[in-house]
């Protein structure tokens, strides 16, 4: 029993954008796309049940197959339903990442105009392959390097079974690449339970020592 009492105000949380850039090329057909869809739905449900995360987090969905598309503009889980993904086409991975970066920039402009503060946006790229041969990996590598230096967003690539690790390293620093095997569900469970740290701007590496999932699967 406290000898002091107090009522607190209802403060809303600072917004944080999470862009998921998802490989939906034809190699994802069958079990992988089913598992990815199930895991995304679980992730959505988990955020929806976490009042604090649901209030802070805006999710944006990018897919890349033969084209990169933004299939969900930044929105809180209250304001959209997780769309089912269909696998088809080649792997315009670089276009997908560029579109994710563009979405981050647009949303930051919006926050800057209206919000006193926001959490550093995060981009998570999922791929089971490698970029098409015509994709500009050198340009992307320069952009990611510069953006990491100026802390524009946090960036991670999650390679699933079959992804080409050495190709990914051509545009992404080694410490930002993780292999998650085929277990999307396990990864997204870890992701939703790690949202506090990620929203605070931590990288996967910052949280690695604290988390079983990352300890068991160091990746590189």
């Amino acid at each position: 029993m406290h000898e002091l009492t107090a009522t607190s105000p209802k403060n809303v949380q600072k917004p944080c954008l999470c862009v998921l850039a998802l490989d939906v090329s034809s190699s994802m057909e069958g079990t992988p796309i089913i598992e990815l869809n199930n895991a995304l739905q679980e992730f959505y449900n988990s955020i929806n049940q976490d009042d604090e995360a649901a209030e802070k987090l805006e999710i944006c969905l990018i897919t890349f197959g033969s084209n990169a598309k933004c299939i969900q503009e930044p929105a809180k889980v209250d304001d959209f339903k997780m769309p089912p993904l269909v696998a088809n086409g080649t792997t315009k991975l670089v276009d997908g990442i560029n579109l994710a970066i563009k979405q981050v920039e647009l949303r930051k402009e919006y926050y800057k105009k209206y919000s006193p503060q926001y959490s550093r946006p995060m981009i998570l790229v999922f791929t089971d392959g490698e970029p098409d041969a015509d994709q500009d990996m050198i340009g992307l590598a320069t952009q990611i390097r510069n953006d990491m230096f100026s802390k524009k967003y946090t960036f991670h690539v999650l390679g699933t079974t079959g992804y080409n690790h050495s190709k990914v390293l051509e545009f992404c620093p080694k410490e930002l690449v993780y292999s998650i095997g085929t277990n999307y569900s396990r990864f997204f469970k870890w992701l939703s339970s790690s949202m506090d740290g990620l929203i605070a701007g931590q990288t996967f590496d910052d949280m690695r020592t604290k988390d079983d999932f990352m300890q068991q699967r160091p990746i590189n």
């Binding site: 000898e3 107090a6 403060n11 800057k112 209206y114 006193p116 503060q117 959490s119």
Partner: protein, 281 residues
């Protein structure tokens, strides 16, 4: 300041308890003849020795600021203090604290960055309050008309984890210092005031409210009356009437900051607050 009581404490946030990280906040009230110095400091979450940084910065305040005040006789009755003059003196004092932290860095064999901490310093005289700060803490006061007002603007970077600290690279020129160091003089008649780290802001301040036009939050920065009023008008006077000692008051305050209501209980960041209350005659 015999007619004032100070409740002060710092406690681990939920996140730091779960991760077994020490409390990185620190605060203390130093009582001098005719004036008091209140200090609240928040060690950076990502910096290894920031608990030491916040403790040392608080202690160094009571080495440098009394000298600066007493040299100028600001603690004597009817002393006139101009805002610009106070700002210059505040910068001088804060710079001396930063230089002392450099010495701690050498002794500890660590980088200055690992001692990163914010700081709020309030110097209370009989008729005025001098305030200076670096970082994202908040402070407010209640005047004798029972109006609560803010008394500093927290400096928040673009991102929620881009705070400026006393150890940050802000000491190169006057323009930069003026941007990151805010100093104010409050001359209203006071009934209470508070200094707090950002771990207490959600519980005690209206900070982020939805802008109806954009549906994006904006910072109101206003002490929340309902958080403070019952405590300063009823509960704390009762504790004082019950002749609680300073350490008993601080224990009660600590327990309150830890679990006083759901917002305080669920806060993941460390929490520290000084609440100063004028004792009714």
């Amino acid at each position: 300041m015999k007619d004032w009581k100070y409740l002060y404490a710092f406690v681990q946030g939920k996140g730091h308890i779960e991760d077994n990280i020490p409390c990185q906040d620190y605060c203390k009230v130093f009582q001098h003849k005719n004036y008091s110095i209140c200090v609240v400091s928040d060690g950076a979450g990502s910096c290894e020795k920031s608990d030491l940084g916040s403790k040392k910065a608080t202690e160094f305040t009571d080495i440098h600021f009394p000298k600066l005040i007493e040299q100028r006789k600001w603690h004597t009755p009817n002393a006139k203090i101009k805002s610009k003059e106070w700002h210059k003196v505040a910068i001088k004092g804060l710079r001396a604290i930063k230089e002392d932290l450099e010495r701690v860095r050498i002794a500890e064999g660590c980088e200055l960055k690992s001692l990163s901490c914010t700081i709020i310093i309030a110097i209370q005289f009989k008729t005025k309050l001098l305030l200076t700060h670096i970082g994202d803490g908040r402070a407010g006061y209640c005047n004798t008309k029972d109006e609560w007002k803010e008394m500093l603007t927290p400096y928040k970077g673009r991102y929620s984890n881009e705070t400026v600290f006393i150890t940050s690279n802000i000491w190169r020129d006057e323009e930069t210092l003026d941007r990151y160091i805010e100093s104010r003089i409050i001359e209203e008649k006071l009934k209470a005031f508070c200094l707090l780290t950002d771990g207490c802001e959600n519980a005690s301040f209206e900070c982020y409210k939805i802008n109806e036009k954009s549906s994006i939050p904006e910072d109101i920065n206003k002490p929340f009356k309902e958080f403070f009023d019952e405590n300063i008008n009823v509960h704390i006077p009762n504790l004082i009437k019950a002749q609680k000692s300073q350490s008993e008051l601080n224990e009660i305050w600590k327990s309150f900051l830890r679990t006083g209501n759901d917002t305080l209980k669920n806060e993941s960041d460390d929490k520290s607050m000084i609440l100063a209350v004028k004792i009714p005659a």
